[in-house]
Structure formats: C-alpha cells, structure tokens
Amino acid sequence: MDAVRLQGVTKRYKTQVAVDDLSLEVPRESIYGFIGPNGSGKTTSLRMILNIIHPDEGRIEVLGEEALRAANDRVGYLPEERGLYKKLKVHQILGYYGSLKGMSFADARRAGTEWLERLDLADAGNKKIEALSKGMAQKVQFIATVISRPELLILDEPFTGLDPVNHEVLRDAILELNRQGTTVIFSTHDMSMAEQMCDFVFMIFKGRKVLDGTLASIQEHYGTDTVRLRISGGPELVREHPSVEKVVDLGQVQEVRMAGDPQALLAHLVQHTTVQHFEIAKPSLHDIFVRIAGPDASNGAALTSAEEEAIR
C-alpha cells in the first residue's frame, strides 16, 4: 500500500495554477525525493499532503486516510523555514510539539531526552532556544519533527545550513528511521543528496510533474549522451567539436552532452591535447534538472502517461 497517493490534484491561487493535475504514489518505507526549481509547486504539494491547504480538484490519501487531518498525528513535518519559540527551553518545546501529536508530555519528554543524547545535544535540554547555535537549533527542530515516531516524515530542505558533521548526523538519523519503517518524503535542491538517498525522485516544474521514478529509470530515459572528461587546455577545445551540444564547465571536470559518437570526440581530443579522464556516463540528476528547468530548456512539458510508465 502507498503511504501517499495523489490523484489529479490541482491547486490554483486566483488565476495562477500552482499545482496542475498532479498524480503521485509514494510507496511505504521508501525515501521519495521532491525536486524542482523555486516556485514550481513543491511546497504547495507538500502542504496539500499535510492537509494544511486543500486542493481545488483531485483526491489525496495519506497513510490510507482520506478524511481531513485524520492522519496528521502519524505525520512529521520539518518545514523549509525553521521556527522555534526563542524563549522556551528545549525540553518544553519538545514536550509541546510531542503533545500536539498526541503524546503525553512525559512520553514526549522521555523521547526527547533519548533523541537529544543521540544527536549529541544531551546538555541542551534545559537551555533556551535563543542560547543555541543555528546548527543545534536545527537539530532540535528535527527532533521535534520525529519525536512522535511518525509513519510518514516530510522534510523540506532538511540539510540547509548544516555543517558537514551535523549533515552526516542528520542523514544517518533519517536513514535509520527509514530502515525502521518510516516513509520519508524530502524536498531538496541538493541533487547529489537526492541521488545518494532517494529510492524515487519526483520533479515538479511549473506546477506539473516532469519526472517520477527511480534514479536509474530516469537516467535510462535520458540516455547515455553524457561524457565526463578532464583535459589540459580547458573546455574551448571541446566546444569546437561539431558533435558537442553543450558543455558544462565544473572547473576541474567538464560535463559534455553529445549529439554524436563519443569516440569521435575522444579521437579529436587525443590529437590536440592531453586527456586525463574520459568517461561515458549517464546524465546526473543535476544535469537532468538543468535540462528541464534551465534557461536553455526547450519546454517544461509534463510527462505523458507513456513516458511515466517507461520511467517507472
């Protein structure tokens, strides 16, 4: 059974269509990545799943419940813009947020203490939020989200602003929860994180679904027209080859989209410079994202049913 199911969901704000005829199934116990440019409809979609706002058309089912808010106590939500009561102590906040999810204050406090120890914040329980660093406050916000052991966890940009150490701590915690059976939906702009963590990736652009499937199936759909290379002399030599469609200069490495035979490009480069690295690769999620939503994108066409079936 799916943890979340959307069928033909549309949401309009006056004349603007924020989400257009969106259908989606998030399998239970999966990690589902939501990607898309700013203003594409990600947050609106998440808010509809959370029943914070209601769709104008379509059906939404969360954890088998269609009734409004019926499932909310089983859902944890970490919004993109974090907010905690600055004057409250960490234990008070965790107790309050746990109570809102139906826990007793004592249970919430006990669970909060365990999580604080686990995330290396054991001494912070009696501190006020205003006394914590940004990273510590973010971890407290995460604990407030997961304190009730939700079946579905919705995380909007969970890693923003975290240093590498805290980044890892949080990632491990999310993966551990997933292993224990929690379904995770997370929205991110960090494509490499989505590639590493997600079982499924969904992309929304201009309110419409443009990608939905496993990373492998998506990459398969976009073919093997990408070459990743490192050469002496910079990217100009690559650009002048007629079979090259686009060069993305990443500094030490160039990512090249080909319209012809990669072997011909290799032969050309070997003749003119030293080739340090040449790899025929599938396009990265970053590259796919830019192809769909970048300034050179041909269109933001939604997936047809056939395409969607092919990707899945």
Binding site: R47, L50, I52, I53, H54, D56, L68, R69, N72, D73, V75, Y77, P79, E81, R82, G83, L84, Y85, K86, Y97, L100, K101, Q141, A144, T145
Partner: protein
C-alpha cells in the same frame, strides 16, 4: 554623516511607502474625528424627554417655591443656538384623591410604573430659621444614579433657605458666607422606594441609597472587565504575528487545524483573564465577608448573581476581541501594519468607557438602551445597566444576550476564516477587500 543621511532617507521612504503609513493618513483623522464625535455625543446626548416628579410637602410652603423656580428653569432650556439641551422637569399634578394609602406608597408605585422619576419628601421644618436644623429632605427613586434633578432641587432649596436666613438675620452681603456654612443642614438624602407586600399588606420602608454599592462598585467592575480583557487579548496579536514571522505557525498547523490553533489561543486568553477575575473577585468576596462592619449594601452589590453575569459578559468580550486580534495578527506580515489594523479593534474596547457617564446618569434612557444593543458594546454597557438600579427589563437582557452571543459567534467564525488563510500568507498585508474575500474562500 552621509551614511546617517542614507539610513535616514531609506528608513523614511520605507515608512511612508508602507501600507500602514498610507492607511494611517486616512485612519488617524477618521479615528480622531470619530473619537471627538463620540465624546461630543457622550457629552451632549441627554434624554430630553420630560421628567416628572412629585413633592410630598410636609412644610406646606415649599412646593409653590419649587414650582416658581421650575418655571424659570423651564423657560431657559435651549442653548445659544436655540436647540433644547436640557430635559424639561415638571411637577406632578396628578395628586392622588380618593386613595387612603400614604402618599409615599402611592408615589412609590408610580415610580415603579415609570410614570414619575421620583418624589421629593420635605420635612415640616424645612424652612426653619434656625441655622443647621434637620430639614428632612429625601429624594426617593429607583434610579439613584440619575442625580441631575435631585441635585438641582437640593441647590434650589438651599438658595431658598439661605435667602430666608439672610433676610431674617438682617445680614449684610459680606456676612453671607457664614450663613452658607450654617446651611449645611440642607442635605438631600437619596433613598429607594417604599414597598408593600400585597399578600400580607406589610409595609417595607425605603432604604437609603448607598453610593459605594450602587454606583461605585458597578463602575469598578466595568473597569475591571476592561482591564482584564486588555491584559489578555491584544497580546494574541503579537503572539500570532511572532509565530507567523518566525515560521513556527507552519509547524503548528501541520499538527492542528488553524481553527483549532486559534481556539487554543482564545482558550488561553479566556483562562488567563478568568484566573485573574476569580483571583480579584474571590479576594474581594473573602475580604468583605470576613471583615466586620461591611455594610449590607456592599455585600448585596457583590452578590453571586451579578458576579456570574460579570464573568459571562467578560467571556463574550474576550472571545470577540480575542478572535479579532488573532485574525489581525495572522493577516499581517509586519508589526507596523498590525498596529494600524489594531486601532479600530482597540476602539471597540475603549468606546464603551466614553459613555459611562451618560449611561450612569440615565441607565434606562434611550442612549443607554441603544448602546447596550450594539453587540461590541453590549458586554460592558449591559452589565453596567444590570449592576446599577433599577436594572434592566428581562426582554432587553434577552435581546442583548442574543445579539451579543450571535455577534461573538460571528467574530469567532470570521476570525477563524481570516486566521486560516492569513497564518500561511506571506508578503504584503492584505487589503480589507482581500480580507473580506477570505471569509468566503474555500
């Protein structure tokens, strides 16, 4: 210095371009003008209906003098522009004939029936030429707070008595001050009405009006209601605005519905004010019931019935103003804008206080009736009228309760609608038209 100028210019432009400033330009004169009009209305709105009173003249010589003075006064009821600005007072001509009952019983009955405002009882020694003697002046009424007429009577009788004393003593003008002091005996006692038990025929004498219990305590209670509401509901605006600005609201509404969130906040405001009310009123009750010598009228004024009405009316006011302040907090994105929108809501709370004077003077007059039927004013105005004699007819209370309760429900419903959308709304503070649209949004 140029950087200071840059900051100043930037701040100035930001301020004058804000919606709060532009709204303020219009609202400030409107509110000040409205306030001035309200004060003017409060000062000038008097019942101009003729007020009739009776005199039981045991001296046999004062009624005619009062009638003469009345004729002079009634000939000058208009202001400089020729508009009547004082009520006409008239002596009752319907002297009871063929009724053997005592006059005070007859007149008490007529006061209760609303035929006359009250009656003056004059002792037989009222015109005594002996300075400082007890002159036996009593004003009997069921509306002791309406004191213009008895005050005037007291003043005129003092003039008459002191004139007689001056003439009898052959004093010069320079010696009049001593006589005025001697006239301290001209003092009007205000009392209630005589009542007769129809079944047993037993007569119950009128009791003197206690100003502390019948006037001061009701005013203090109304002021207490105002303060308790002010202590808890305007805070909701800042509270909601803070949660919205610091993005706490989004987390909260993923766990509870916006309406539940608003109701929770209203519940907290109600609990806070009720706690303080129970503390203050409970403390007052414990105090007056455990101290010897507290007059019975004060104990009567703090009866459980009136205190229950106090709590009920305060509850209505808390819910109404709490819903409005919460909705304003949710609709605004900046403190500056919220302050502007807050002003009309504050007027709703402060407005009734401007009319305390006229309502106390004529608690059953037209102004008092109208004000107590305007829903945002009902809790304070109707409670005041209930707490001071003669009270309010049951149908007025029922009608005001119905109107006020419906208005409270509407305020909570409308506040909830605005709160629901506003709490997640980012960007410009919405216009009144937009807010109105939110009431009917899906």
């Amino acid at each position: 210095m140029s950087k200071v100028r840059t900051v100043a210019v930037n701040e100035y432009l930001k301020a004058i371009r804000s919606k709060a400033f532009i709204l303020g330009i219009v609202l400030m004169p409107v509110l000040m003008g409205g306030g001035a009009i309200a004060v003017a209305i409060a000062e000038n709105t008097k019942d101009l209906d003729e007020q009739v009173f009776a005199v039981i003249d045991n001296s046999g010589g004062l009624r005619d003098e009062i009638e003469t003075q009345l004729e002079v006064r009634n000939a000058n009821l208009n202001d400089e522009e020729g508009n009547q600005d004082r009520a006409r007072w008239a002596l009752d001509d319907d002297v009871a004939t063929g009724d053997d009952r005592p006059l005070d019983e007859i007149y008490s009955e007529r006061v209760e029936a609303g035929e006359i405002l009250g009656f003056l009882t004059v002792g037989k020694n009222v015109l005594s030429l002996e300075a400082g003697s007890e002159r036996g002046l009593t004003w009997s009424t069921d509306t002791p707070t309406a004191d213009d007429l008895p005050d005037w009577l007291e003043y005129k009788i003092e003039e008459i008595v002191s004139g007689n004393l001056i003439a009898a003593a052959g004093l010069t003008q320079g010696q009049q001050a001593k006589v005025d002091l001697a006239n301290a005996g001209v003092r009007m006692r205000t009392q209630g009405l005589v009542s007769v038990n129809k079944a047993t025929g037993e007569r119950k004498e009128a009791e003197e009006v206690d100003e502390i219990s019948q006037i001061l305590i009701p005013i203090v209670l109304v002021m207490l209601m105002f303060m308790l509401v002010m202590m808890s509901t305007p805070i909701l605006l800042n509270n909601v605005l803070e949660e919205k600005m610091q993005k706490i609201a989004e987390v909260l509404v993923s766990s509870v519905s916006p309406f539940e969130l608003m109701l929770g906040k209203l519940g907290s405001a109600v609990a806070m004010s009720m706690t303080l009310a129970l503390l203050y009123l409970g403390g007052a009750l414990v105090f007056v019931h455990n101290i010897d010598g507290v007059p019975q009228p004060i104990l009567d004024a703090l009866n459980p019935g009136i205190l229950a009405w106090f709590l009920f009316f305060m509850l209505l006011l808390l819910l109404t103003s709490g819903a409005i302040f919460s909705a304003i907090g949710a609709a605004c994105s900046e403190i500056q804008d919220s302050q502007t929108l807050m002003m009309p809501a504050m007027i709703m709370l402060v407005g009734p206080l401007m009319f305390l004077g006229p309502v106390i003077q004529a608690p059953d007059g037209t102004l008092a009736q109208v004000l107590s039927f305007i829903p945002p004013m009902t809790p304070m105005m109707m409670f005041l009228r209930m707490a001071i004699p003669p009270g309010v007819p049951w149908w007025e209370l029922a009608l005001a309760l119905l109107g006020s309760t419906l208005f409270t429900l509407f305020a909570v419903w409308a506040g909830g609608k605005i709160f629901r959308i506003g709490i997640l709304f980012q960007g410009q503070t919405p216009s009144f038209k937009t807010l109105f649209g939110w009431l009917f949004a899906k």
